[in-house]
């Protein structure tokens, strides 16, 4: 853990007065390595360490803490401040309210769509799941199977229906069935795929989601920032769902994205079952990043 590494580097002396410049250099090297190992984007690490260094140099070491613990305290506070930024409220206004899930292939959008449908049902709303991925084999079957297990209706359009049309028809189906929230599960796509990025932009223009959630796999590496920026440029992303946090990936992608785009994590996927969804709490992820 970062605490252990800093203890090795800075020793266990308590109440040493002020943190020396040499101590800070050594500590910042450890912080940098720990964050890179946690998949925090290297540019974000650079800025983050600079901020921590500024606070650490000459910092008064509290009598009850070692220099190492003092640095960990500063790092923890800075992590929380980045992760707590942005509007973390989950908005459900609109008639119907539209939630769109977007992201790279395999990140967990379809599973998260079902989880959100269950969460929204528990809030007393009546969601309709819309299978707007016509590309992946059995994608609509997957969403339909999940919806059936939750007793939540799923709309799917005939094969060959263009994606924007699927979204529109989904809205009409919601109105017909008096469902007041539409959850749009979209196909995984690469940010370098111009046609598919244009498609998702067209869908957003057509149905105007109140929430567009970028679904990000907790094991994502250095590309997290580029990917998030590209999605945010194409559609009005309002927050992130960080999935597969039940593994041991440190989730530095979330910190990276929040730091650069200001987008907050709103939910975390904590398992494969439909009840494995948690509302995001910054201190849980901050602790994870400290190892």
């Amino acid at each position: 853990t970062l605490s252990e590494r800093l203890r090795q580097t800075l020793g266990a002396l308590t109440g040493r007065g002020r943190v020396s410049e040499a101590d800070v250099d050594a500590a910042m090297r450890e912080v940098r390595l720990a964050l890179l190992e946690a998949d925090v984007n290297f540019k974000v690490v650079r800025d983050f360490v600079a901020r921590v260094r500024e606070r650490a140099v000459g910092a008064e070491v509290l009598a009850s803490l070692t220099a190492g613990q003092q640095v960990v305290k500063i790092v923890h506070e800075e992590l929380i401040s980045l992760l707590a930024a942005g509007d973390r409220t989950f908005h459900l206004s609109g008639s119907p309210a539209v939630i769109a899930l977007v992201g790279l292939q395999g990140s967990g959008k379809t599973t998260s769509s079902a989880k959100l449908a269950r969460h929204i049902t528990k809030l007393g709303r009546r969601p309709l799941l819309v299978a707007a991925d016509p590309y992946r084999p059995a994608a609509a079957d997957q969403l339909q199977t999940l919806g059936k297990s939750l007793d939540i209706p799923v709309f799917r359009a005939p094969a060959g229906t263009p994606v924007v049309e699927i979204a529109r028809q989904g809205m009409e189906a919601a109105r017909r069935q008096t469902r007041d929230v539409v959850i749009l599960d979209t196909a995984g796509r690469l940010t370098v795929d111009e046609a598919l990025m244009a498609e998702i932009a067209a869908v957003a223009s057509a149905v105007k989601p109140i929430e567009t959630l970028l679904v990000v796999d907790a094991m994502t590496g250095q590309e997290s920032v580029t990917v998030a920026q590209a999605f945010a440029a194409a559609v009005p992303v309002t927050g992130l769902v960080l999935t597969k946090i039940d593994g041991d990936a440190r989730g530095g992608a979330a910190l990276s994205i929040s730091a650069v785009t200001g987008l907050p994590v709103k939910f975390m996927g904590t398992g494969e079952k439909t009840d494995a969804l948690e509302v995001f709490h910054p201190d849980r992820l901050a602790g994870r990043m400290l190892g």
Partner: protein, 275 residues
């Protein structure tokens, strides 16, 4: 052409940053740069680092083909990895590739857990023109594989490819389930030495090494498929994995269509890190 007096500190830092940006990992990037500085190419940072990176990659047999479990017996390929990396899609691509080579292929739908996993594999099987052995959802994956091995032997299939459910390597019960599947194959075909392919998503960061290690320790990996290299990610964690486990990347996934699977080219892979 480098400036007079050789490469600057900034030149070396820039190369190290390129490696980190490509998910090589900070510790390995630093070690590679250290070796490169002391090497005979030490006056050309990029060339020296490329050389050191290439040296990390496992030695590989020129043109790998699946090996039969014995005379007249099928070659068995077991496909494993964490959730969402592209296992099922890769199997569809492999099935089409082998069928194109004139081999008979049978698939085993041993992901009996995830919603519509069996339907997804069946759709790929239809696309590739091959048969699938499947049970009902919720069945024991080992039972599916057992039946599939029997079927492959009876039908004289050339290749049997088993799809398994994605699983996080930290889940002990799921890793035990995989060990049981592997035992079933070993018991039924004692000389099979199945090709066990670990499917890794190229956008994965440092967790990829922990994943590969855990799967390798549980059932022994013999190959890696690196998927989604058509994204902007470089898949740099592969260097750490090949260096630590000596398991070679066999194929690279470069898209979602049936033909989007190419043999791994180590030189191109190293070069792409600097592209």
């Amino acid at each position: 052409i480098l400036g007079v007096g050789g490469p600057s500190e900034a030149d070396w830092e820039e190369v190290e940053e390129t490696l980190i940006a490509g998910d090589v990992g900070a510790a390995l990037a630093m070690a590679v740069v250290e070796r490169a500085r002391r090497s005979r190419d030490g006056d050309d940072p990029v060339a020296a680092v490329r050389r050191e990176l290439a040296a990390l990659l496992a030695s590989r047999e020129g043109d790998w083909h699946p090996r039969p479990a014995g005379p007249g017996l099928p070659a068995v390929i077991l496909v494993v990895g964490v959730n969402g990396t592209g296992k099922t899609t890769t199997i569809g691509k492999l099935a089409a590739r082998y069928r194109g080579e004139g081999r008979t292929v049978l698939l085993a739908a041993a992901d009996t857990f995830r919603a519509a996993a069996i339907e997804q594999l069946q759709a790929w099987a239809t696309r590739a023109g091959v048969a699938v052995v499947a049970h009902a959802p919720g069945a024991d994956p080992a039972a599916v594989v057992f039946d599939a091995v029997d079927a492959a032997v009876a039908r004289h299939s050339d290749v049997l490819i088993a799809d398994t459910a994605g699983r996080l390597h930290t889940k002990v019960n799921l890793m035990d389930e995989l060990t049981k599947v592997r035992r079933i194959i070993d018991r039924r075909l004692p000389d099979a030495a199945p090709e066990t392919l670990f499917v890794l998503d190229a956008t994965t960061g440092q967790n990829g090494l922990a994943q590969a290690r855990a799967f390798h320790e549980a059932i022994g990996l013999t190959g890696i498929v690196l998927t989604k290299l058509d994204s902007t990610a470089k898949g740099g964690i592969v260097f750490a994995i090949e260096d630590a486990l000596k398991v070679p990347v066999r194929f690279v996934g470069v898209g979602e269509k049936v033909g989007d699977l190419i043999p791994f080219d180590p030189d191109a892979f190293v070069a792409a890190l600097f592209a």
